[in-house]
């Protein structure tokens, strides 16, 4: 085992077999390149093949799986609490099967997990609302750690591009939020869905991280599907005051197109 590639090949082989969770996969087939394969001598390959086929490896897979499941459950605690036991288990199992739950800090997987969950939930539903709320709250609280409102006067609207804030989200509630969350917290049946929804804005610049969005803010947020220039937005009827206030609370960010224009 003297090749300089041996350790990398060893770790990649064991790691990929652990992640696939299938002890029946031939040893060096799971995405292992020829370069890696060449890093292992025959003796080492034989040892690894025996290791992967052993009950010790199967138990290691079991422990890994339980860690991944535990991390996922801890991350999406509220969302899972409003799903049936079977639906929650299916969601977690599918997420873990595609490689989720592996990060030591589960927060680093939050965006991916909540997008994965949201795509599998009925729209509209309280479960989707809770999922989006959990996602938006994590996003806003993480962004709040380093948030500073941009120093910008919007003097040159044509060169100023904005986009939805990385740390922001708008979540529609189909029941009064306090009532819905009280039911979730108490484990009580959830209220019926209302016809109208209440949009709640989550942003890193708000002291409480969220508050009901005004009609103007909601319309602006929903129209901002892609980066747009402040000038174009003002031509559409959104006032400078609104754009400035949304920037101040982190609901929208300066787009990289603004920064590129500044550099040019």
């Amino acid at each position: 085992m003297t090749s300089p590639m041996a350790l990398l090949a060893h770790q990649t082989t064991l790691g990929r077999h652990l992640r696939t969770g299938d002890p029946g996969v031939p040893m060096l087939v799971v995405g292992t390149s020829r370069d890696l394969e060449a890093g292992l001598d025959a003796g080492h390959r034989t040892q690894l093949a025996e290791l992967i086929a052993s009950p010790d490896f199967v138990f290691t897979q079991f422990v890994r799986q339980s860690w991944c499941v535990g991390r996922t459950k801890a991350l999406a605690r509220l969302t899972l609490s409003v799903l049936s036991e079977e639906a929650g288990r299916n969601l977690v199992d599918h997420w873990v099967a595609r490689g989720g739950g592996a990060a030591f800090d589960p927060m680093s997987e939050a965006e991916g997990l909540f997008e994965f969950a949201a795509a599998r939930l009925e729209d509209p539903s309280h479960a989707l609302t809770i999922c989006r709320m959990e996602q938006a709250a994590l996003r806003a609280s993480a962004a709040a750690l380093t948030f500073a409102a941009p120093d910008l006067t919007l003097d040159d609207e044509a060169l100023t591009f904005v986009c939805r804030g990385k740390g922001a989200g708008l979540v529609r509630f189909f029941a009064p939020p306090e009532r819905l969350l009280a039911c979730v917290s108490a484990g009580e049946p959830l209220p019926a869905l209302t016809e109208e929804s209440l949009p709640i804005l989550f942003t890193p610049g708000l002291a409480e991280l969220c508050r009901p969005a005004t009609e103007e803010e909601t319309a602006f947020w929903e129209s901002l599907q892609a980066p747009a220039s402040a000038a174009a937005l003002m031509q559409e009827g959104y006032p400078r005051r609104l754009i400035s206030s949304m920037l101040d609370i982190g609901a929208i960010d300066l787009s990289s197109r603004t920064l590129a224009a500044t550099v040019c």
Partner: protein
């Protein structure tokens, strides 16, 4: 800010000296602050990642200290000295260790100086399909090869220089009995010895991990202790675990089994440079253990520490 205690006059040359602190306990935010009082514990083991949030920006990952969590930990720990016990470094990864952990630790040390720093002798990342590092999902033990010794030893030496305090590597528990070992390394004890020698660092001897491996791999833990270079041991962990599918798992989820206390009684008096004994408990299980039970485990550790005639510093001095 409490002072970092002075180092012991007894040192093993080149390894950095450890102040003899006494009995320690991990900082767990969910537990009653009353557990962190001088007299009950002499020092606190802080895992800085638990006071941080991870931020991902494409492939770039960073750990950001969360002010509220950090301030609360400082308030709870108060005058007690701290040591750092990391979980995110992945020092044995051939693809590269997690530099974002070290970047965070640079900042953490400026904010809250620590007496020593430890990590696990393992790897938890590998190349993904695109060659970028991905998490495996569980820390894995290293094979016993010269390449592993060079890689980890050199990284350990660099970390020791970077922080200017002793660096310790913890022996891992694992279930893989047939890991390859080169003849001159022979087994996990030989691997730890070779790495700590090359890296001029110390060992964090986790006796529960050693006990689990002894049970699962069928060797005598006392004979294993006899083969460890105990002069290099800077800290000892004791913990509890549970049986699953015929394996003893190092879950660190409760009381310490009597066999591990016996191992501590056997080992501690022979460790000439040990700085402390820590009763390990994972955050996840903390709420499942009554504070009174934790106090009892800490008291057992103290009795053995005192029997070993090791001096205990007074907190805050």
């Amino acid at each position: 800010m409490p002072p970092v205690p002075a180092a012991s006059s007894v040192t093993t040359e080149g390894l950095g000296s450890l102040p003899p602190l006494g009995v320690g306990f991990p900082y767990i935010g969910e537990l009653p602050p009353e557990l962190y009082r001088p007299g009950l514990v002499d020092f606190v083991e802080v895992t800085p990642e638990t006071l941080c949030r991870t931020r991902r920006d494409g492939e770039h990952r960073s750990l950001i200290v969360v002010p509220d969590r950090f301030d609360r930990a400082r308030t709870v720990v108060d005058v007690l000295p701290i040591v750092v016990h990391g979980i995110e470094l992945s020092i044995g990864s051939a693809i590269g260790c997690n530099e974002h952990y070290l970047d965070m630790l640079d900042q953490f040390q400026r904010l809250w100086p620590f007496c020593w720093h430890s990590e696990h002798l393992s790897y938890q990342t590998m190349p993904g399909d695109d060659g970028v590092s991905v998490d495996i999902g569980i820390p894995l033990p290293l094979p016993g090869t010269d390449e592993a010794v060079r890689l980890v030893g050199d990284r350990a030496a660099a970390i020791g220089r970077r922080y200017g305090v002793p660096f310790l590597l913890e022996n891992p528990a694992h279930f893989l009995r047939t890991l390859p070992y080169e003849p001159d390394i022979s087994d996990e004890i030989g691997l730890m010895a070779a790495i700590t020698e090359r890296g001029s660092c110390r060992q964090l001897l986790d006796l529960h991990n050693l006990y689990c491996n002894a049970i699962n791999h069928r060797f005598d833990p006392f004979a294993a202790v006899d083969r460890i270079d105990l002069d290099r041991v800077g800290e000892i962990h004791v913990a509890g675990g549970c049986w699953q599918s015929g394996y003893l798992n190092d879950t660190h989820d409760g009381r310490v089994p009597s066999a591990v206390w016996e191992l501590l009684d056997y080992t501690l008096p022979r460790c000439t440079h040990v700085g402390g004994v820590v009763f390990e408990l994972l955050n996840y299980y903390a709420s499942k253990m009554a504070p009174e039970e934790i106090v009892e485990e800490l008291a057992k550790a103290r009795r053995i520490w005192d029997r070993s005639h090791l001096p205990t510093r007074e907190a805050g001095t």
